[in-house]
Symmetry: C3
Subunit: 171 residues, 3 copies
Amino acid sequence: MTHTPVSEWNPEGLRVAADVILGRGVKLFGFVNLYGCEIGDETRIGCFVEIQNGVKVGARCKISSHTLICEGVTIEDGVFVGHGVMFVNDRWPRAMTQDGRVVKQGDWRCLTTLVKQGASIGSGSTILGGITIGANAMIGAGSVVTGDIAPGTTVVGNPARQLDHSNGSKL
Amino acid sequence: MTHTPVSEWNPEGLRVAADVILGRGVKLFGFVNLYGCEIGDETRIGCFVEIQNGVKVGARCKISSHTLICEGVTIEDGVFVGHGVMFVNDRWPRAMTQDGRVVKQGDWRCLTTLVKQGASIGSGSTILGGITIGANAMIGAGSVVTGDIAPGTTVVGNPARQLDHSNGSKL
Amino acid sequence: MTHTPVSEWNPEGLRVAADVILGRGVKLFGFVNLYGCEIGDETRIGCFVEIQNGVKVGARCKISSHTLICEGVTIEDGVFVGHGVMFVNDRWPRAMTQDGRVVKQGDWRCLTTLVKQGASIGSGSTILGGITIGANAMIGAGSVVTGDIAPGTTVVGNPARQLDHSNGSKL
């Protein structure tokens, strides 16, 4: 992966921090907010996407518009992330401590999430922290994923459960 | 419908491609990404909205902030689309083909979705591809719509089911 | 709360109307659309956030990226609002009246919602209008909240129901 200087990008609507590492052939389409992250070769990132500090996105992924990839998330190669997908990294988020000050680094634990090669996460899904989504798994649109997903399986719903392909209902 | 030259719009925060057809009195509020689409007279489009190639939105619609209207979607007149609504056009989305190259046009089939006149889609809903939402139907906020919705009915939930107005539960 | 002139902010990607009242130490990170609202001291507001007319957000809150806070919402001090949270203020939203004109002020009733001190609203949640979320309540990620939430309780799901902490299921 090579580092493409931010200055090569059209500055209009792109907030790409100086510490972002963009692979060869990465495509950004405007209105993105990227900082402290690493994006693999040929990955495409839609509009209104934020990718936070420490995130690694593999090569040949598609990150669709309106998606948030938070600190703690690692995405392997060839992963599809739909529109409006929200990743989560805090089990019990709070804005303020019990004694009334703003929560800051060190007041909370960042959960880690791994999305394995070739997985597909449908639009409008919410992915809780601390889980692994297996290789080539498919998360149906609008799902809320609350635990590990086995490789190659399809899950849907809130909470997400395995889909019975014979009749389209949950197992 | 008349074509309003993009240069007439405040350029700040508006990405409106040259091929977009905007009707008379269309209102855009900033941070939008529109390309290859046609928007009817007096329709209002909120912030952080993306409308993709080939989409037609009718007259006097409201498309609220944070919404994604993807290729394959047609919206008739007078439709309300809430905030953060995600349309879907691919049943089995993948970013990478089995032999490891980036998925491109022709590798997948774009599903078509039709939202009929006067329908209302609540905020935070996800609308799967290949379906029809009937005239004046109402989709409750936060729903995941997985099949056709009959005209004039109200549906809620994940998956969306018809609402029993007598007690507020699903039928 | 003191009024910070908008001109003090980095204008890139910030749409902050002249009537917005920003408290001391408020942090904005870009691509926001704020108008007619009041934001308390030390509150942080992420990217791609819209906060509408008449909204009051307390001090030391965190409003995460991709969130919409609509007219009618009041948020007290120390509240956490996750990413991609959509508030709702209209029970039966329509874009067009029965006689075919655009819906305008006075054609609909704006519901009010109150989020009490220290509450936490998980990412990807949808919060219907006309409800109260009690102090220190916790809304799980991906929930659809359709009624009042008692102080200090944790709710999850669509519709959101109280979580049984003993086994992680809904009560």
